[in-house]
Amino acid sequence: MVDKLTIRRILGLYGIAAKMDLFWLLRDTKYALAAIIADLIANLATVSSVFLISVRFGGIGGMSPDEVLFMMAYSTMITGIFILFGAANNFHISRIIGRGQLEHLFIQPIPLKAQLATMGFAPFTGAINFVVGIALLVVAAIRLRIRVTPLWTILLVAFLLATMVTIIARAYLVSTLAFYAPVAAEEISTKAIEGTWLLSTFPLSGMPAFVQIPLLTILPEGLMAWFPALCLLGRPPLGLGSCYPMLYAIILAVFAAAIFRKGMKYYVTRGSNRYLPYGFRR
């Protein structure tokens, strides 16, 4: 019998995930803190390298160092939200599929969607990048004298949401391969997410159109920070308009959902057998 999904139930599931995260922090404080610091170092090293270059060269492609800082703050917030809600491989879904762990979710009396949406919530150990991202955004906004109005804040939230949908939809789209080739494609979501991480921090301003356009369409790394940051600064690039990232996210999500469902149908008829009797993966 599957539980009825209500807002209250969903919030309850987030609460359970948060409680488990807090228990990990309290039970294994030393390692939980090490994980928090590692997440912070990993992100700051990536974004600071681009920022340091912009400082050294007095800007990149018409973007001032402060504008690059704003873009890096946006990127840090995205990384923060990703870790905050994706701490249980629920965004790296090819790992769950490839390791044969989807069955673990099937036996729970809660719809799969609800489990995947809530299981990775880690507000105690996963929030550090999000907090640092907000702090960097505030610093950049002050230096750039941005007028923060309620409308601007709503736009910021909408862009963050669109970027997250794009990241997750793409991860689920490529992860569909893991239904068919669980061993070979187990880490394909890592390629789609972490493999493109550095690329998503590149300011594309000043680059030729034949580099910019593919990075806003085929491989949407320009939508991860550069495009939204310029929209929030009031300069949507390439005349595409501020609603382009939202539109892209919706189309990609619909397409990814259809393909993923097809993969699921294949999986439930074939299953996965990744584990050897003594514990190692095949």
């Binding site: 390692y31 090490a34 994980a35 590692a38 997440d39 170092i41 990993a42 992100n43 700051l44 090293a45 990536t46 600071s48 390298s49 340091l52 270059i53 400082v55 050294r56 060269f57 007095g58 800007g59 990149i60 492609g61 490529v174 080739a181 061993v183 070979a184 494609a185 394909i188 390629k191 789609a192 493999g195 493109t196 550095l198 690329l199 590149f202 300011p203 594309l204 301003s205 000043g206 680059m207 030729p208 580099v211 593919p214 990075l215 491989l219 790394e221 003594y278 514990g279 190692f280 993966r281």
Partner: protein, 255 residues
């Protein structure tokens, strides 16, 4: 040596067991990162900022960094050897564990060299990249960089044993350190606020950034080689000692 050669060959074949199709995402990603990175440098350097490297030097630096990426910052399977069951496989064979790791890692470079590095070489003239080293010392610096890379990797592996198998945590920190401290993506000499002066003496600077700088003729060859040799002399004994001490701490039950 034959057993090491066979280990390396097995490792190379292992990468393509599922068919080369599954390596394509990595190849595509590498190309999709390389081209924007080259244009990023073009955009930055054409803006007229005065730096110690010319645009052609920077293009070559970035290009070479991409095609030799596995060698410039070595990563063995050792960091994940407890969670992935690598440990069981290595200790079950009658030859040196570290030797196997070196052979396995070097063998693992071959498919990507053949599928990515060699084909991309043909793009070099189109991208304005000159693939002739400015100094023959590059051919000494590269092995020193690889050797130091193994020592650094073994130290990280010992750290992963020490902190109870948090291999992903080690991976993240190492990845972050490499981005900024090794100079493979951004030359250390480009860092602002005088950071570059201090950073060039730390051990990670003797990794990828060193042979790349020698190749494009943007560094003091003598100083770079001395630092690389010095760090090899310091870190190899440290890695061997740490590994010897760590063996008794290993606990593994697969992944």
């Amino acid at each position: 040596m034959y057993k090491y050669y066979v280990t390396a060959r097995m490792s190379a074949q292992e990468q393509t067991n599922g068919g080369i199709l599954y390596s394509l995402p990595t190849v595509i990603l590498k190309i999709c990162t390389l081209i924007p990175l080259l244009f990023l440098w073009k955009t930055i350097m054409n803006a007229g900022a005065k730096v110690e490297m010319s645009l052609p030097q920077m293009m070559t630096y970035t290009f070479l960094s991409s095609i030799l990426s596995d060698m410039l910052v070595v990563k063995t399977p050792a960091t994940g050897w407890l969670s992935e069951g690598v440990l069981l496989r290595l200790y079950g064979r009658p030859f040196s564990v570290l030797g196997q790791l070196v052979a396995q890692t070097a063998g693992g470079w071959v498919p990507m060299l053949l599928m990515y590095s060699v084909p991309v070489l043909f793009l070099a003239p189109l991208l304005g990249v000159r693939l002739i080293p400015a100094s023959p010392a590059f051919f000494l610096s590269l092995p020193l960089c690889v050797s130091l890379g193994f020592a650094v990797d073994f130290l990280f592996a010992c750290l992963s044993i020490r902190i109870r198998n948090f291999s992903w945590l080690i991976d993240r920190v190492r990845g972050a350190i490499v981005v900024i401290l090794s100079g493979t993506i951004i030359p250390i000499r480009f860092l602002p606020f005088g950071i570059a002066t201090v950073m060039k003496y730390q051990p990670f600077a003797a990794l990828g950034g060193s042979p790349l700088s020698i190749f494009v003729g943007a560094g003091d060859v003598r100083e770079i080689l001395i630092l690389q040799i010095a760090w090899n002399l310091v870190l190899w004994p440290a890695a061997l000692f740490a590994f010897h001490k760590s063996q008794e701490r290993m606990v593994s039950y697969g992944g």
